[in-house]
Symmetry: D2
């Protein structure tokens, strides 16, 4: 540890403290800095105008929570070496470094590689690049093992990725804060104070049950009220359609203008192997962010293809598709009829109406029993699952999966 | 007024309420929506990562404060008709609609027209466009008169533009909030509750003196701590240099890639008359925002001109110029010597070093006696200037102008 | 309405505005001002040191929410006359005026009259007293009818008292705020914005479902985490024991020192009829507050009766009883054994051990189906109960009643 | 240090952590717990109803800030041993333990001993009492030396008592928070992060200049807007009058009812020597708090002495004296005339009118040059006073002393 101590103002927690050289160097790296230009919540700011916070601020926030969680665990006597402490902090700092523009939307469109895989690729590159900068050989080894859950202490991975990890704690707090949806506020500090480790599992002290219940409920509410808001779904569908159309046009040899690397990715179907074979691809990917997407969409406003220019116009001028949400699937006749109407209205082929009319499914359950459980630690040393420990949230409630169906179509045909 | 009532979550005030059809229609217009893509504080988020809030959120916030100010003034018996009330709300809603990307930076580089002039051009266009949408003929007439200070009631203009207007009240609160600099927090609600009108002048009730003092101090602190932060100055200088270089290259006939309308503006020297002569120019300007600038700078990374590509690299990879600030002008020998060093280091001509080495001046006084005064209203009906009314802030303090000089140069030559 | 406009700073909402003379006069009356000396949460501050806020601040806060709720309902076209508006604001302002010291504890000990009955007695007295002060004859008539639910518009009563009234909205926000338990924070402003009236019933617009769910969950969590905290239960039991012992001693003719009116009430068993027969009794009751109780307990530290002085010492020196909580009733043998141990330890009679050893029951369900329902209003005008409208909270969850049993005994015998 | 870790919710900072056994034992001691019943701001809650927070919460808050300040200083390489760390935390925890009811009012009336002297007496007693409880011999020795500024490291004392100590930082934040006066909010966390030590002096890093300026301005504004609010001055004058009258009556042999120890103190003129001679006196003093005072005043409502009962009535029924504030002393004729009017109105002797009519002086300067300076540390290691370092606050501003004169008299004679 050095005597350097950088303090960054953060509206959510007041201050973030960066107190180790390698953390500095990772944060300063272009691979990390690019996250300044990727919004944490993509199109959510169309509904909640304050929610323009970046993925960079989330990654710094998650680091901050990790630092505090480690303090708490150490005071409680959990054995964590300095190397492990730094490793788990690097792991959380970098956990989202693989995200591309409009995060989840781009995952299946710009490049069909999961963002966690990209995170691994970025971490490996950084592990090599930072080796030459006075941090010893492969300074991210422990961080990578923790991220991959191959490190001997499993609970360190759980701090980075589990149902109660520092990632979720930060994003729930941060997304509530910036969206102005106070319903999602989580007692982050209290939960962290209640963390403990038992049998190499991250657990919550008995006194923290209420806070964990609140956390589960808040997550569910944020899911429906913010993350899956109808307007966000509509804008996401639109952007997916735009990318699909550009791919289709490029495949046919129709030229489409746009930032060089974005167009390159839309001209190819890169997969994980492509990145391994061609290391430069990662650098190109790193140069694509939200700015390129929004600039490109404006460029497409004047494209001769009427489907592309119409979709672009809808997004640029916020003339989003209408969207209906239902507890039941929409009948296929209703969809077919809408496609016919759309065909007539826009003067396009029936097959092209799929860019304007479509359906989808949203699923959420409060708590995933298949995922890792949240365990409660009692004073007598015994543990049980939160669903058994809680008076409020029984298995019945937690297991209940909510499924919703949506149907989008041109606003003017509403 | 309609029964429609749109509620928008806002992290600063909780909720914003839009309760009139024409306000809706103005907000929905592309001219207004483009402000979603213009950050209120430009490069400030390089220092304060939370400060990525948009000019759109500021304009909505200022509208919210105006609505509350009007309520307060009406309760105090100030005569304000429904038409005036709507007019002044439209005026504040649109007061910043003329800003281009990176607001103040672009004002002298992308186009040499003051943003207030552009605001007027946008308002006039909206006045015509909205006429045909069921809001009567020229529904912005009153708003435009208030904005131009040609309306008979001067205090309405002061609510939009004066030393204590709704613009400043919102931006100080909002900028403090998102940057996480609590020092700038202003008792907005209290100041608004203390507003009054005397002899057609906006005044502050005697009980509000402390709050106004606090407001003046906060503004000064925000100026130095946030708005004029060294890193922000450095990034602004860099962007200005980039635009100047692109103009120079384009003038020489060297092709420079980039979003069409941005390049068009950098290829010409449009002035106010250009917008009058060619109405389409305003639509083109409206299609340029922060996204285009950031995307373009990334495109310039690979430009053959070494000056352009170096500047682009500095901005994209956040390798900003070093910057020194002093109470005295920097000696010309120091500057000359640095230019020589820079010439050698980059292998460029001496004249091109002006893109990497330069100086500037920052000025601020807490309160501008040449600008409109802030007047305090006593219970006996008499008024005086805040500098006389305040125990804390005497003329000596308020008049004091702080001037600082800065000097920027390549970081590697530090 | 007058032009007077009093603004009171409030840490929860920023500002409270009092804008009518009769509201002023009610607030200034000693019957209202006495609530400055009655803590909203009694002994809760033993656990949450910030939670020393007074019932007066709650009553002002509830008035503030009512004022905002009325604005919202009027904008939505609900017919509410100025007289009704003032009536319902007076009703909420006075809804808790009948509380005595340590509110719920004193209700069964100092005087065996429900606090709502006392509220009615105070309102009737104020109705007479204010008649002579320029507010017309019986200015509280409408307020009293609304409070008693005898007014023709039922929804006005529901704003004062129902499962979603301004009382609960304020106390949940306020208690969370001052206790520092962020888990209890409720989106008050959003809920109020979603209120509506349908068929003379207070309802919530469809868009407010999530906020109501969050409100129900928060209430439940606050119940267990704050209101029914073990330490609070222990201190309440202790105070009840103290009052019972004083009554017992006074009944036996043993003199007990203390503030005159407090001792008077503990010497008698006044009921509702006593207040009707002897109007002065209400004035005497109005002179007893938390200060008297805490001062009296300190006086009892030196009383010759060992039971009384021991109980007083436990409370004054915060040497509270130990308390166990269980999902099942405690076996009677366990209780008997503890009473024997206590008898020996303190050298007191077996019957007197009931002051040191005892049991009790705590019950809560999130939502009371027997109480008035929370109804959701759909866009098509139809209504249904929140338990049907919510995806999250089904009847199963809402009906679930949690019952806990507690057992308290001397700490030293733990 | 133990593994015990007590977490207390605090609305200002979120959580307070107590992590050492002796801190626990000090906090649990009746001498400390009595501060639950002493409001931090006395009668200020008459104006700001939220400001009922206790001195106990302030003392815990100041401990919290101290813990954070020590962390910062240690990271910056300041040499602080574990013993010193604990000592300075005990010193700040106990710095206000000597306050009596209504703090500053009681200092000159209930007992004429400065509260710092009483703090020393309490610390010495605790030093002895805690010796026998497993904390070693005289565990408060270091704390007492630091408090008395006899410890070798002067900066530790400055953390407890100086122009920028943890006491002031906490009370400004806390008082702003609970009063709802956002103007007083101070960037506590930033200031603490900027603390440093140079030549055994507590200093502020150069980057903290703006925050210190803001702190000085906030303090000044809080002084006039909150601490010296007219209503607070009026109530304080009234309580002083009440105590003086009770003393006068008791001296004449007229019996006055009230809590035993309060009456004892009002019957005698105890000084520091009395506490030394009679150790029990400290225990008696420790049993007097705000509750006793408010209960006693209610008892005096019915006292036969008309002066006493009138004063009591004014305070209980909040019928406070009128108060005028002026920049100049009030002319003696005005005062004399008011005393004559008062004599006639109440039918009392002219000399007794001094209880109803009187004057006083209020003084404040933002920064006391006679007191310890706030020093700024530059990167080159040099130091200078904030008045030289600041662009905003020059000596002229800082030295300016504001003096105000007040005149109180019966409200009915206004």
């Amino acid at each position: 540890m050095t005597n350097k101590r950088k303090i960054i103002n953060d509206p959510v927690y007041g201050f973030l403290t960066i107190d180790d050289d390698i953390l500095f160097d990772v944060i300063s790296h272009p691979f990390f800095q690019r996250q300044r230009h990727i919004k944490q919540l993509g199109f959510t700011s169309l509904v909640y105008p304050g929610a323009v916070h970046t993925r960079l601020s989330h990654m710094l926030g998650a680091l901050n929570l990790m630092t505090r969680a480690l303090e708490v665990l150490k005071v409680k006597g959990v054995d964590i070496s300095d190397e492990e402490s730094l490793g788990v902090r690097l792991a959380i700092l970098l956990h989202d470094v693989g995200h591309g523009p409009f995060s989840h939307t781009s995952e299946h469109t710009i490049v069909d590689v999961h963002h966690e895989t990209l995170t691994r690729l970025f971490m490996q590159r950084l592990n090599v690049e930072l080796s030459t900068q006075g941090h010893g050989i492969h300074p991210l080894d422990t961080a990578i093992e923790i991220f991959n859950d191959t490190y001997k202490k499993h609970f360190l991975h759980q701090l980075v990725s589990s149902q109660l990890d520092m990632d979720r704690l930060d994003y729930l707090s941060r997304d509530s804060f910036f969206s102005g949806v106070s319903e999602g506020i989580v007692g982050t500090e209290r939960i962290i104070n209640m963390l403990n480790v038992s049998n190499d599992e991250l657990v919550v002290d008995e006194k923290g049950i209420y806070s964990v219940e609140k956390f589960i409920i808040s997550r569910r509410l944020m899911y429906w009220q913010v993350y899956m808001h109808k307007t966000v779904i509509a804008a996401d569908s639109l952007l997916c359609g735009l990318f699909r159309r550009v791919r289709e046009l490029l495949a046919k040899g129709v030229p489409v203008d746009g930032p060089r690397f974005l167009i390159d990715f839309l001209s190819h179907s890169y997969n994980e192997a492509s990145f391994v074979d061609n290391p430069e691809l990662l650098d190109h990917f790193a140069l694509i962010d939200d700015n390129d997407v929004m600039t490109a969409v404006k460029m497409w406003l004047h494209h001769p293809d009427i489907v592309l220019s119409s979709l672009a116009s809808q997004l640029v001028y916020r003339h989003l598709p209408a969207i209906s949400v239902s507890d039941h699937p929409f009948p296929s006749e209703q969809i077919e009829q809408m496609r016919l109407l759309t065909q007539r209205h826009f003067g396009i082929s029936l097959s092209d109406t799929e860019y304007f009319v479509g359906t989808g499914v949203l699923k959420n359950h409060a708590y995933d029993f298949n995922d890792q459980e949240i365990k409660v630690l009692y004073k007598d040393g015994s543990c049980c699952d939160i669903s058994e420990a809680s008076d409020q949230l029984d298995r019945h409630f937690l297991e209940k999966q909510v499924t919703k169906y949506y149907f989008f179509f041109p606003k003017e045909l509403k």
